[in-house]
């Protein structure tokens, strides 16, 4: 059975390969960074299993690894990694033409097929894909298939997969890590009661018997908390338990289904404003080699702001009438 765990092993292997290439070029910080991350990816399940049986040492070592990554990341200069000559690329592009699209489209296509039909794929009565994370397992499989196809189409040696993958990985640098680090911070914030304190602040600031004030406080609270946490999922339980349930639903009689749906979507507007949502707003800056960290946020915040106004209006006019 194909499991997500095998995808993590594959990532670890790729990261270790990238570390090795950096080691050969004496780029010590990059090498160390990818090596530590490879260990965390490969050892993740062991850490979680150990924690489940109340052995905390592996998790603590993982914590030390995360701190090591934090120390190394400012030392990762964006290097001048040699790319193949532009004229050679252009010549290949003319020769290969549309055949280049095949492997690129295989990534979304295979992922889509696995997502839709993965549940029916059986080998000897055993499901081919782990039901827990079918789509993501499919994405990993799609990447492997696409790499094989890309090597065949371009007639490149398999080692090119590693050197070119490493070129892009080093272009990303620490930005690749930020989503995970922020998710870890979310876990710490949740465990240390940051959420409860913030929702108390919101409640202290508004006149609770005014329905409009409560709607605005809930909506803007979702946005603010999402901006801080980088994730509307983290904001939703905190703000809905602190403001939505007691004030809007119980005190003012709001419809919970509409409030929940629009509340979450209002949080998503906040996701468009914040560098804390690194996988959406910072990773693409690195991937697209943009000069400023906030370039993607700059391109999308106006859509987010307009949509925030629409959401607040929808909330105010819908939740009390259905």
């Amino acid at each position: 059975m194909l499991k997500i765990e095998q995808a993590y092993w594959l990532i670890a292997l790729f990261l270790a390969g990238a570390a090795w290439l950096n080691l050969r070029e004496r780029r010590w910080s990059h090498a160390g960074f990818w090596l530590v991350l490879a260990a965390l990816m490969a050892g993740g399940k062991y850490v979680l299993d150990a924690t489940a049986t109340h052995h905390h040492l592996p998790a603590q070592l993982a914590g030390v690894g995360v701190i090591a990554l934090a120390v190394l990341s400012p030392r990762m200069q964006r290097g001048q990694l040699a790319e193949r000559d532009a004229a050679e690329r252009e010549a290949d592009a003319r020769r290969l033409g549309h055949r280049l699209f095949g492997p690129a489209v295989l990534i979304p296509l295979v992922t889509l097929l696995v997502a839709l039909f993965g549940a029916y794929a059986m080998i000897g009565g055993v499901r081919l894909f782990d039901p827990a994370r079918t789509t993501l397992t499919g994405l990993a499989l799609a990447c492997v298939i696409a790499l094989i196809a890309a090597l065949r189409v371009t007639r490149a040696k398999p080692a090119v997969g590693l050197t070119e993958g490493r070129r892009l990985l080093d272009t990303l640098g620490w930005a690749a890590l930020l989503p995970l680090t922020l998710a870890a911070l979310g876990g710490v914030f949740a465990a240390t009661g940051v959420g409860a304190a913030v929702s108390d602040l919101v409640r202290m600031a508004i006149p609770v018997d005014n329905a409009l004030a409560c709607v605005v406080a809930y909506g803007l609270g979702m946005v603010l908390f999402t901006v801080i946490m980088g994730n509307a999922f983290a904001a939703f339980p905190v703000l809905t338990a602190g403001v939505g349930l007691p004030l809007l639903i119980h005190l003012h009689g709001a419809n919970p289904a509409i409030l929940g749906s629009l509340g979450m979507l209002t949080g998503y507007c906040g996701t468009l404003f914040t560098p804390m949502a690194a996988n959406f707003n910072i990773v693409p800056v690195a991937l697209l080699e943009l000069p400023n960290q906030n370039d993607v946020i700059r391109a999308q915040w106006k859509t987010g702001a307009a949509l925030l106004v629409v959401n607040l209006a929808l909330m105010y006019f819908l939740i009390f009438h259905f």
């Binding site: 993590y8 790729f14 603590q60 790319e83 371009t154 240390t192 349930l245 629409v310």
Partner: protein, 254 residues
């Protein structure tokens, strides 16, 4: 004393806000914020390390996108970006605004079906959408300036985000809707997932309309934009090379 303990963990939030505002490298800022919040909540060093380690490895799925890099790297080495550019240039009806709007609609519909990992910044924006958009923008007859090129790339990434966010909430079987349902269920309110998902539709439609209007305005600005100097990078030149020339070294403050 208990009141103080209640408020102290907010210091971690302060660390994040100040660190991001001063443009320190975000990774150490975030890790430091976690440590500060943990200490402020009265946890021991060992507990904090275990908390950080466990939270980190629980979210390993967030790194899956790096598996796309070897395949995309191999294709880029063989001229994928150059070919995308050449091809889009031959499609006369495909303008920048039509391209981005079609992608937005497709992304929203796929996300509504729960297929939000099918596309993304690594899977589709870098290898396909961004070069397509750049080439479509250059149909105005003059090459993009370095700044315009960056704007087109950033707008492509923004379009991907908006399509994903405001589609996925309509999907009933995963993620947001189940989180909302589960939360209410814990608090004694039982709801059907479909009830929640349907109320995301008005926002999904509003998101498409608002961003489509912004796309048209953006495409018009690019089309009428005064072009940069004659030395601005052409469509066939290496993206990395051209990006590097005009990229101030942001690593120090990034």
């Amino acid at each position: 004393m208990t009141a103080l303990l209640h408020w102290l963990p907010v210091l971690g939030v302060l660390v994040v806000v100040v660190g991001f505002a001063l443009r320190f490298n975000p990774v150490p800022v975030v890790v430091l914020a976690g440590i500060v919040s943990g200490l402020a909540a009265g946890k021991s060093i060992g507990e904090i390390l275990a908390l950080i380690g466990n939270s980190f490895v629980s979210e390993r799925a967030l790194l899956l996108f790096v598996l796309t890099l070897p395949a995309i790297g191999v294709l880029e080495r063989a001229g994928l970006r150059e070919h995308v550019g050449n091809w889009i240039a031959t499609l006369r009806g495909l303008t920048l605004s039509r391209l981005l709007m079609a992608y937005l609609a497709a992304r929203q519909i796929l996300a509504m079906l729960g297929l939000y990992d099918v596309a993304g910044h690594a899977q589709t924006v870098r290898p396909l959408l961004a070069p397509m958009a750049e080439s479509a923008a250059e149909k105005r007859g003059s090459p993009l300036s370095a700044r315009e090129r960056n704007d087109v790339r950033a707008f492509s990434a923004a379009t991907d985000n908006i399509g994903r966010f405001f589609g996925e909430d309509v999907f009933i079987a995963l993620g947001a809707v189940l989180l909302i349902q589960g939360f209410y269920s814990q608090h004694g309110i039982e709801l059907e997932p479909l009830q929640i998902a349907l109320w995301a539709l008005p926002t999904a439609i509003a998101a498409f309309v608002i961003h489509a209007i912004r796309t048209v305005l953006f495409a018009r600005r690019i089309k009428n934009g005064t072009t940069g100097p004659a030395t601005s990078p052409g469509p066939l030149q290496s993206r990395s090379a051209s990006a590097r020339q005009d990229m101030p070294d942001t690593d120090q403050c990034g």
